[in-house]
Structure formats: C-alpha cells, structure tokens
Symmetry: C2
Subunit: 119 residues, 2 copies
C-alpha cells in the first residue's frame, strides 16, 4: 500500500530487455523496462499489452505499419498481433499486461524471461 | 490501432471529475480525468483502481493515512479500501480500472457518472 515513483524504480536496474514488476492489480502486472536496439518479432495469443513511454522514443513495428511513441504516449498491442519493439537509443517504458504474459510471447529463445523480479 | 498521447487527450475537455475513456485492454479501460477539490469517500467492491498523476499533485486519503502523489507517480487502491481523492489545485490523472468500475464505487449520488465517453 505505497505509492510508486516510476523514475525511482527505473534507477534501480540497468539491464536491458528485462522487465521488472512494480505493481499488480486485477490480475495484471505493471512493469518497467529499459530497451535499446531490436527485440524479436512475436505475438501474445491471449493478452493485450500496453507500452507507455516514460523517457526516450520507441518504435513498435507491426506487419503493416510502424508506431512511433514519444514520452507521454502509449500504444496497446491487441492479442494476436505480431510486433517488434525497436529503440534506436535507450528508452524507458511502463508496461501493463496480464500476469500470464511472457515477454517473447509465442517465441521461446535466449531473450525469454520466465521469472520476473519485483523491484 | 493508433497511439494515444495523454496531453493531447487532456486538451479535449475541461469538465472536472468526469473520466473519459482513452483505451481498452484485457477488460480494463484506460481513462483520463481532471480533478480539483474533494470527491466523495467510496470504495469499489470488486475492482482495484490505479491513479497515475500526469500533471499536478493529488492526495488520496485512506482511512489510516494519506498518499501524496506527484507527476510520474501512481497508487493502486485495492478493492474494498475506502478512499477520497483530494486535489488542492487542478490535477490531471490517468486511471486504469476494470470496465465495471463506477467512479463513485459503492456510493450513488449526483457525482456518479454512469456512461463515460470515449475521447
């Protein structure tokens, strides 16, 4: 039952592409992550996923268009839609997603994070 | 399938204590609202509710303590917990809550908003 300051949470880790849990509500987790470079194309069969940009710029590539997000903007990726997050420079994001969400969705590889830490 | 810019959405209305829907995912709505003054004590029987401050300062009074939120901070009010939002000056917030959430929770009065608009 404490408030959460996004920037304070983001100071607590440096690891890229490694979401950290900062809150939970109604079967969702709220997470923060630091992203730089290109992730992997994937989709989530059952979960919509929200990306909110706290700092920097994020491109979310979809198969038919690119979504360019700046600070104070969010995009919801509906379940089933393939997407590829790309960050030219380091970007800090807040994520909202059901607890069942795996970072690489339908893909399992060396970038998959199975057990996320709370910070 | 478009991005959402919080500040652009907040420019579209002036009405206080009247949440507007700006997105949906996984049975939740994402809303923005402008608050000033004191609301009404209430709780939500079945829904956790997240307040994120976009601009200004918000106090969320609980029965046993006050939560003081500034820009870039959020607080999750668990289901069943009585709360009273108070804003000395106008504050702009983003809300995450299940679609079933009524703004005044267990209370029905002249401040209850039954049908929220999308903006």
């Amino acid at each position: 039952m404490d408030k959460v300051n996004l920037k304070d949470k983001l100071k607590k880790f440096d690891q890229l592409w490694s979401p950290k849990i900062i809150g939970e509500m109604n079967e969702l987790y709220i997470k923060v992550a630091k992203l730089k470079g290109e992730f992997v194309w994937h989709h989530h069969d059952n979960e919509d996923e929200l990306f909110y940009v706290v700092k920097g710029k994020l491109v979310i590539k979809l198969r038919n268009k690119d979504i360019e997000l700046e600070e104070g903007e969010f995009f919801i990726i509906p379940k089933g839609i393939e997407h590829l997050p790309v960050a030219g420079e380091e970007v800090h994001v807040m994520l909202f997603e059901p607890k069942s969400t795996l970072n690489t969705g339908n893909v399992k590889n060396e970038r998959t994070q199975d057990n996320l830490d709370w910070i």
